[in-house]
């Protein structure tokens, strides 16, 4: 992390550098990867001015930075693009600061640009100081501690059942009117088919020498329940007609609504 050691002056053009100073200077350059970008380098260089960041000489800083970039080049250290962009920008700034202001020139003055750079450096330094203060605070798990045996909150699931009055009434009416629902269900149990009737009667007519009420052909179990009786009666009647058509039986009825009688036709 900390690439730069100490606050010693960084001025490689000074002839009388001590060994330590020279090592520091080397370290600054060689560990360029340790810097967090051009602003970080500027901040580090700025510290060598030994003045308040507010009073920093941006012109001097620009010179220092450009020297730093030159040095890096001679040492064949590959500098990331943003370091070079900063160098170009600082070279421009330097010329602006040195030359008298051109009244026709648009855009911010050199002073304004310098002031903003100073602000950026001051702000970055302030954030670094703040970060250091933050990290130096009493910290959870290091200086103060949470409960060692937290008691789990047991989650109790409670189901709340609801129903509306409408649900209730619909439920009740459903029960009370179940018969009214019946026709909608095809009920095979209560249906005596024509096929059933024919089969039964064909087996029995051989013995039907005398006139017999066709209702006597209705099988046991179909003559009590009205629904079943109705179905069996209809099928038996239809089967009788079918047998008469085939010429196997004769039918007669004494009057309207009187019992229909059947007997086998003598062939």
């Amino acid at each position: 992390m900390g690439a730069f050691m100490g606050d010693d002056d960084f001025q490689e053009d000074k002839p009388s550098l001590s060994v330590i100073e020279r090592l520091d200077a080397e370290a600054l350059i060689i560990d360029v990867d340790g810097f967090e970008g051009p602003l970080d380098v500027l901040l580090t260089l700025g510290r060598t001015q030994k003045v308040d960041l507010i009073k920093i000489s941006i012109l001097q800083l620009a010179r220092q930075y450009l020297a730093f970039v030159e040095k890096a080049k001679t040492l064949r250290i590959e500098l990331a693009a943003d370091y070079l962009v900063m160098a170009a920008w600082l070279a421009f700034l330097k010329s602006r600061l040195l030359l008298p202001p051109d009244p026709d020139e648009e855009g911010p003055s050199g002073e304004e640009l310098a002031a903003h750079l100073a602000f950026q450096l001051e702000r970055l330094q302030a954030m670094r100081d703040a970060a250091a203060r933050l990290m130096a605070r009493d910290r959870l798990g290091r200086d103060f501690f949470a409960r060692g045996i937290p008691e789990d909150v047991t989650r109790v699931k409670k189901v709340n059942y609801t129903a509306t009055l409408l649900d209730l009434m619909q439920g009740y009416s459903r029960l009370r009117t179940r018969d009214e629902f019946r026709p909608f269900v095809m009920d095979r149990d209560a249906v005596y088919t024509l096929e059933n009737a024919l089969e039964r009667m064909r087996g029995l007519i051989g013995y039907a020498g005398n006139w017999t009420n066709i209702s006597s052909y209705i099988p046991d179990g179909w003559d009590k329940d009205p629904m079943r009786l109705r179905s069996a009666t209809a099928s038996t009647f239809a089967a009788s007609l079918e047998l008469a058509k085939e010429g196997r039986v004769e039918l007669r009825q004494s009057e309207t609504f009187a019992p229909i009688e059947l007997r086998a036709k003598e062939i």
């Binding site: 009434m169 009416s173 009370r176 009117t177």
Partner: protein, 222 residues
């Protein structure tokens, strides 16, 4: 020998034990933050030289008497635990609202319209046996309760609806439930499901399935 004694004394005074109140704070913090109960021996080992954890514990225990948190002994170690009478606070209730099953609604409706009514009578009307769970659920919800026993053989218990039931459905009394005629005029009875779209099977619907089959055989066979 005398010299040695002197040395020991000097050393002790160098590492003078903190005041008892301070020791109490220390025990408090250690017991709070420890992941498991801590023995007096360990407390003493962790506290500054000359501390008396056992004594500090006496004070601490007293301080927490009757509080929401108590100092308790676990085996030969000490721990802090929430007071047992506050255990209900350690539960988080999640409430889920569910619609009452069809079986429960029908049973409830029969009780409301026919109260006091026995289980056998409910079963007769529904044409299906009433599962224990259904009745228990309604009892638990406090929408029905036991009424007087019937003066019939076996003296069966009856069910009636409760005040909670009336409150929930916004009824003054069970007599305010609309009658069949009113239900019909309200169009409720005409609300027949078309064939093939019988209510979807869901929770509690086993009863319904049962009901359909049993109901049929009961009604159409002898």
């Amino acid at each position: 020998m005398a010299e040695l004694d002197n040395d020991v004394e000097q050393e002790e005074s160098l590492f003078e034990a903190p005041p008892v109140a301070e020791q109490e704070r220390m025990v408090e913090a250690i017991l709070f933050a420890s992941a498991e109960p801590v023995s007096v021996k360990e407390l003493n080992a962790r506290m500054p030289h000359g501390s008396d954890a056992a004594e500090a514990l006496v004070h601490l225990r007293k301080r927490y008497t009757g509080r929401g948190v108590n100092v308790i002994k676990v085996g030969d170690a000490w721990a802090m635990r929430t007071a047992p009478d506050l255990s209900f606070l350690m539960q988080k209730e999640t409430v889920e609202t569910r619609k009452l099953s069809r079986a429960a609604i029908e049973t409830l409706a029969i009780i409301a319209y026919h109260q006091p009514v026995t289980r056998a009578e409910i079963e007769e009307i529904r044409g299906v046996s009433v599962s224990r769970g259904t009745v228990d659920q309604l009892l638990e919800m406090e929408w029905i309760r036991f009424g007087r026993r019937k003066m019939t053989p076996g003296r069966p218990v009856t069910f009636v609806v409760t005040q909670d039931f009336l409150d929930h459905f916004g009824l003054e009394s069970a007599r305010d439930l609309p009658g069949l005629k009113e239900l019909r005029s309200a169009g409720l009875l005409d609300n027949r499901p078309p064939p093939g779209t019988l209510p979807k099977m869901g929770e509690g619907d086993e009863d319904v399935a049962e009901q359909t089959e049993e109901g049929q055989s009961e009604l159409f066979e002898d």
